[in-house]
């Protein structure tokens, strides 16, 4: 079954890659689905969605390969993994709001099952926390979507039609808050992040990879795409709050990350910090910051997934992720050490990695918006050096206090790591590969706001 899933996923990438070059959308599919409800299948792909689609399918394969050693309920595991990937693909594709909401809600159950069945420790509680946060936040999205669709005449959920019709300015901020609630919880941004550290820590490795690589990205993607298209005035009103929230989030999460002893928890908090940067980039609303946000989204998927994979591999071997017990890897297991070195430097945005490019662009953009936020991002970069080096020092150098890792990375683990490392470096060294396809999406995201705020 896993093999079938793999083959299907690869096939999906193949067809995704064939999309031709159209001015705005690489591909746009429109089919009637439930006309009485005003629902249609409206899938559109541009560079951003294509990159995220490829990412999600790639991470899907990685997560299936990574969980090869799980022996419990294998068919259901693979079903849940594919279900998650399929649902997030739907999110990346849909431009019919009801279908979008459909896929959005669809992500919850498989991720819940992944954590609740194959997780570690207090997995039930973590899974329920994840569920409650996301289900309640999802209601905000649902209510806003239903409002947008049901009050129109004729009833339609077509994003473009709604955008063309225009949403009453007085309502935009409210409806945007509904959308933003769902997106910000999924992203997540402090103070809405309480579900994430537990969910990541308790989830199995594959679950963590999909959570960090895909589910968080659906939140970022949603923020990137819909607010500007549907609620330009609302976005102009609320963007400063978004910036402030992002600024707070990135510093807060980075500081909290410094204090963690569980390595997986630490990485989870770094995810929160990076996603807060993405939020700042999106709310900045200038081409630089938006481009940066897009690149951080992709880059973070590589680095966080790889770190979760490595930590999962350590946990499989010694049964602990406690920083106080690990250590001395650079002598006993050099491949581990090398992989850690690369992805730590990616996390702290070392030049040469794609993370650096993204963060640098966000910071550049922030200078155009407000120098204070640029300062905050810079400070958060400094803090990220602190936590990353601390993690690196504890895990890789020194001597192991209690848990010595003796077995180096196996082929099954090495393969995905090499691929992820390759991607991180490739897009870090050749940023044009990402920037050119993202350009149309960035343009689309900047224009309406500029039209409202009067900026050139």
């Amino acid at each position: 079954l896993a093999l079938v899933a793999l083959a299907a996923a690869v096939l999906g990438i193949g067809t995704g890659g064939q999309a031709g070059a159209a001015p705005r959308w690489l591909a746009l599919e429109r089919h009637v689905w439930a006309p009485a409800l005003g629902v249609q299948i409206l899938f559109a792909v541009d560079g951003l969605s294509a990159a995220l689609l490829a990412l999600s399918l790639g991470l899907g394969i990685v997560s299936i390969v990574v969980s090869w050693n799980i022996t419990r309920h294998v068919p259901l595991l693979n079903a849940a993994l594919c279900w998650t990937v399929a649902a997030s693909n739907g999110v990346f594709l849909s431009f019919d709001l009801l279908v979008f909401a459909f896929f959005w809600e669809l992500m919850i159950v498989p991720a819940f099952l992944l954590i609740a069945i194959w997780g570690h420790g207090e997995r039930e509680a973590a899974a329920l926390k994840f569920l409650v946060f996301n289900a309640v936040a999802g209601l905000g999205l649902l209510a806003a979507v239903f409002y947008l669709g049901a009050t129109g005449d004729p009833v339609t959920f077509d994003t473009f039609a709604i955008a063309a019709r225009g949403v009453p300015p007085a309502l935009q901020a409210w409806l945007l808050s509904g959308f933003a609630l769902a997106f910000l919880v999924k992203l997540p941004v402090p103070p809405l992040h309480a579900w994430l550290p537990d969910a990541h820590t308790m989830a199995p490795t594959a679950g963590s990879i999909l959570l960090a690589g895909l589910l968080l990205k659906t939140g970022a993607y949603g923020l990137f795409r819909f607010p500007v298209l549907l609620f330009p005035q609302g976005m102009a009103e609320l963007a400063p709050f978004g910036l402030a929230l992002g600024g707070f989030g990135t510093i807060y999460a980075a500081l909290v990350a410094c204090g963690q002893t569980d390595a997986k928890r630490l990485v989870a908090y770094t995810s929160v910090a990076h996603m807060s940067v993405v939020l700042m980039g999106i709310c900045g609303g200038v081409p630089f910051s938006l481009m940066g946000a897009g690149i951080v989204m992709v880059a973070h998927a590589f680095s966080a997934s790889a770190l979760f994979l490595l930590l999962g591999a350590i946990y499989d071997r010694v049964g602990t992720r406690d920083l106080r017990e690990l250590g001395g890897m650079q002598r006993s297991v050099p491949r581990f050490a090398a992989a850690f070195a690369l992805f730590f430097s990616a996390t702290l945005a070392m030049p040469g990695t794609s993370n650096f490019l993204g963060e640098a662009l966000v910071i550049t953009g922030m200078f155009q918006v407000q120098w204070l936020y640029a300062l905050i991002t810079l400070v958060s970069l400094v803090v990220s050096v602190v936590y990353a080096t601390r993690l690196f020092k504890r895990v890789v150098f020194g001597t192991s206090r209690q848990a010595e890792v003796t077995e180096d990375l196996r082929l099954r683990e090495l393969g995905p790591i090499v691929v992820l490392a390759g991607c991180t470096l490739l897009f870090g060294l050749l940023p044009q590969l990402l920037m050119v396809p993202f350009q149309t999406a960035v343009d689309a995201a900047t224009l309406p706001v500029a039209a409202v705020t009067g900026a050139p």
Partner: protein, 451 residues
């Protein structure tokens, strides 16, 4: 004209004669024969109701035959069919199928009721046959459930009669249109009418019989009480709403008990440890959603009510069917490993619970859409907030049991499942999944009914 009016009441005729026939057959024929005969009657009645779709409306002083009635009847017959299949009365009780037919007949009469007499007749027919169905196993919990329904249903019936009498005194008419009257007596009547219907509809604070029915009575009987009779009462609510009882009493009162039911049902369901009792409280909450749609008084209300019920009925029947196979006190621990002990049951239970929670790929998601959209269009923001809170709580309620089904089991012995239950589960899953992915046909049917 004559032929048309006969065709219009054909479902009732078929159900009634079917019930009598099943009763006659019961002492002599084999249990399966009786069941098959009852099933046949339900199928014929279902077909007769569906055949009338799209034809001109007919109405008399007592009964009305319009799109709403036809759709309601079809739904009622379908739920009757579903519950009949897994009705497992202990020991000789062969009257089961006949009673199912009678309860279905009562609900079908409610769907057509246009007059106080038919309204009361339908309600009592449904309630009395449900009481008999509840006590069929003759166990203590079943008797308790039966007594509770008998006493509370009796109070409900008395309240309803009093309400009808008051309106008659005020307006001199017994048709449902009489509720359009104004004045002290009609207002008092409206309040009592709401209470009487709330007893049957399991709305808080008149819901006390529901959880006991779900945990004590045979699951099929509880499913019938939760679906068929509820569909009938919902149709009555929609018709009364169209008649326009005194305001603001009607909408305000309905909104209050709807909101109360949503909150109380979900909060109580949160605390339950047994699957059937949880479903009982959840059905209180689901009644609350339906009542909230009616209370909002929006133009799309009837469509939303029928869509919601059409999605709710198969989910509840499937969930109760699984619960019945696990025993009346199925705690989350008893559900452990269900997905591996019997994959069909595990999968269908998961689907049914997802549908009740309103999560996608099941029809419940669109039910939730219709609910929210109806409240939004009517501008009922307070009710919308309560419904949103309720669905938020609901997700947690249902997923708790869903997760239990996927946990590792202490024993992995396969769980046997009789053929009939299997059929019900497969059919229920097909409806939930089919309409969840492609709701077009149901929407088309609703359009036809409310054209």
């Amino acid at each position: 004209m004559m032929a048309a009016s006969v065709l219009a009441v054909l479902p009732l005729i078929v159900l009634g004669t079917g019930a009598v026939l099943a009763m006659l057959l019961a002492p002599r024929a084999r249990a399966d024969t009786v069941r098959a005969a009852a099933g046949l009657a339900l199928v014929v009645a279902l077909a007769a109701a569906l055949r009338r779709m799209g034809t001109p409306d007919l109405s008399s002083a007592m009964l009305v035959d319009d799109g709403l009635a036809r759709l309601g009847q079809a739904l009622v017959c379908a739920t009757g069919l579903g519950t009949l299949a897994f009705l497992r009365p202990a020991r000789p009780a062969r009257e089961g199928p006949a009673l199912v037919l009678l309860a279905t007949l009562g609900a079908a009469v409610l769907c057509k009721a246009n007059h106080a007499a038919t309204l009361f007749l339908g309600l009592e027919l449904a309630t009395l046959s449900l009481i008999a169905l509840f006590v069929l196993p003759l166990t203590r919990p079943a008797l308790e459930a039966g007594y509770k329904l008998l006493i509370l249903g009796g109070i409900g019936a008395a309240t309803l009669l009093f309400a009808l009498a008051l309106t008659y005194a005020a307006t001199g008419s017994l048709t449902l249109q009489a509720w359009a009257g104004r004045g002290m007596l009609v207002s008092l009547g409206t309040a009592l009418l709401m209470a009487g219907l709330a007893f049957k509809f399991a709305l808080a604070p008149f819901h006390m019989w529901t959880p006991d029915a779900f945990s004590g009575a045979p699951a099929a009987a509880a499913a019938l009480a939760g679906t068929a009779s509820k569909i009938g009462v919902a149709v009555v609510l929609v018709r009364l709403d169209a008649a326009g009882p005194p305001e603001p009493l009607w909408h305000m009162g309905l909104a209050l008990i709807a909101g109360g039911s949503i909150l109380l049902g979900n909060l109580q369901a949160l605390r339950q440890t047994a699957l059937p009792r949880m479903l009982g409280y959840s059905s209180v909450a689901q009644s609350g959603y339906v009542a909230a749609i009616v209370a909002s008084g929006g133009a799309g209300g009837p469509t939303a009510v029928m869509f919601y019920l059409a999605g709710y009925a198969p989910a509840l029947i499937a969930a109760l069917c699984v619960a019945a196979s696990l025993g009346p006190q199925a705690r989350p621990e008893d559900l452990h490993g269900l997905a591996w002990r019997n994959p069909l049951m595990g999968a269908v239970l998961a689907l049914a619970l997802m549908s009740l929670a309103g999560l996608p790929i099941s029809v419940g998601f669109f039910g939730k859409y219709y609910l929210f959209a109806a409240l939004i269009r009517a501008g009922a923001w307070g009710l919308l907030a309560v419904a949103a809170l309720g669905t938020g709580l609901g997700v947690y309620v249902y997923i708790r049991f869903l997760a239990a089904a996927f946990r590792t089991a202490p024993s992995s012995a396969p769980l046997p499942l009789p053929m009939a239950e299997g059929t019900v589960l497969v059919a229920g899953a097909a409806i939930l999944l089919g309409l969840g992915l492609y709701p077009g046909p149901l929407i088309a049917a609703l359009r036809l009914a409310f054209a």
